[in-house]
Subunit: 344 residues, 2 copies
Amino acid sequence: MRSKKSRATSVDIAHRAGVSQATVSRVLRGSPLVNPETRQRVLDAVRELNYKVDHRASSLRTQRSGTLALLLFEDPTPDESHINPFFLSMLGSITRACAKHGHDLLVSFQQLSDDWHADYEDSMKADGLILLGYGDYVTYHSKLEQLVGQGTHFVRWGAVQEGQPGVSIGCDNFKGGQLVGEHLIERGRKKVAFLGNASAHSPEFFERYRGCDAALQRAGGGMQADLQVDAESEEKAGYAAAVSLLERGRPFDAVFAASDLIAVGAMRALTEHGRHVPWDVAVVGFDDIPMARFANPPLTTVAQDTVRAGELLVETLLRQVRGEATEAVMLPPELVVRRSSGAV
Amino acid sequence: MRSKKSRATSVDIAHRAGVSQATVSRVLRGSPLVNPETRQRVLDAVRELNYKVDHRASSLRTQRSGTLALLLFEDPTPDESHINPFFLSMLGSITRACAKHGHDLLVSFQQLSDDWHADYEDSMKADGLILLGYGDYVTYHSKLEQLVGQGTHFVRWGAVQEGQPGVSIGCDNFKGGQLVGEHLIERGRKKVAFLGNASAHSPEFFERYRGCDAALQRAGGGMQADLQVDAESEEKAGYAAAVSLLERGRPFDAVFAASDLIAVGAMRALTEHGRHVPWDVAVVGFDDIPMARFANPPLTTVAQDTVRAGELLVETLLRQVRGEATEAVMLPPELVVRRSSGAV
DNA sequence: CTGAAAGCGCTTACAG
DNA sequence: CTGAAAGCGCTTACAG
């Protein structure tokens, strides 16, 4: 919107360049059906009047918005509190990937309870949806089915598993858990506690748990139910979980936290309760958020490739929008060893 | 976009409800000029066909998009690297504030070098722009003037100072620097090094520097030019700056880092070079990013109220879009004392 | 290679 | 309270 004279339209350009409005549109869309000289006259007029195509009009006409919407779910922490740093870095890489593909990104935080399934694409604000966030998978499921039923284009970041509505991109969480298990065994740890929800409601955490268990089993051990404590992915929850683990009084020499945020909280609790990390207890997290390097001691963790993830999400969604076939992908995790799991 | 039958339009609803398309529109816009019974019939049809107003069409017609665009600048780190956590949390609070005001948020990362001044609002994708990011203020300035000249609606997060194009919301950086200076003096520190650019190119950092200087002066001292080292807001830059400070061989008993990221890097360098924080050197940062609490030792810093900042930015911009008067605001900073500046 | 015309899906004076 | 009509600013067959 201009303050004085209203903004130039393609008609103004046509007038100035002495052509029809249709020709202006052809030039701006890069149609080859335009005489080079005509094209130049139009381009000159465009520059002189500082003209920009009205995105709403073109999108209304073409039925393509060139916009993707990112819906970020966060259930537990309604307001104030900080967003999970892992999602923040996903947000960063998704934004970059969108730009790279010439698309705009609409960002929106959602409560899982909201009626989100019926918004952005339905209002034609976006060509497709990217769904991101932990969330109770069971609740989630029916909404996803609704999306599929509506023919909405979407991709989801999260657990990649059978019988799931829509296309998912996710980390190979089982593999990640395995890497952790193998690492702990190598360091001589046997009794591994798990901090995080380990049930079908949180399939990502559960896979991490199962992967670690598989690795321990191969070494003749296994995860113990009495060493598992539920926790959402928050520092405070990690602290609380570690405290209640200690209260149980069962011996353990390692903690596998389902996320770095949990791990950081757990390390604080352990230290405050006189357990030395890593001498008494090795601690390993998941995600490799920026904070992990700076934790005290620096946190061993499993890195997820957020840059690749962002690109894959965007590319997959765009392919879907174009009507091409798409498939689920699991990204390989990578173990990052730091001092929190140091040798005994 | 639906997979099978194409999506319902207001004409379909009109047909089903036995009214004119105009009436459907009136109902959906909440016009009082509709008979309650008619309204109900329309609403029923809307529900049955799962109809949603096409946002592009309505926005084209009303000339209001209900969308704000956030342009995030990051000059030094072109790709890969992580976005400054401080901006990430601003992003979070801006997104929340937008939702609260019923607006959508378009997010875009920009290189300062890009031709950004001419994009989102010009394409009518957004009603206004929020500008966020450190950046060389001198380069910046002329682009801002262009925006003002074009009559573009925008607010900027950053230094609040005289003769600046457009409306700015920012932290009271001078005051923040003062708090740091007073705190250090109270802890018996005299020779305060400053890590960060201290010139008109980085007015935010410069104000922090000047504020600290003012506090020291009041105590009979002052900042020393030979204890100032340039640094962008990055952990690596902080590390490098601290190393070159040490190499100068001038005595100092405190470091005021222009940002937490710089402080974290500096603490690593100091520790590696045998200086104990805080015994030998007190370290103070700025921003209070999540990482600050978990740094080793936990970092004393100046907190900026990002939640309030986000709301203020959105409210101010919306007021501007509505043609109301707006003004610059400086938010009060708050000192957060942790162990990195612990008593001698 | 170019123009006239229809139409994307809404909103809103204008009549009644 | 309601309908018919114009128009927001584009894109794209359809003719030529």
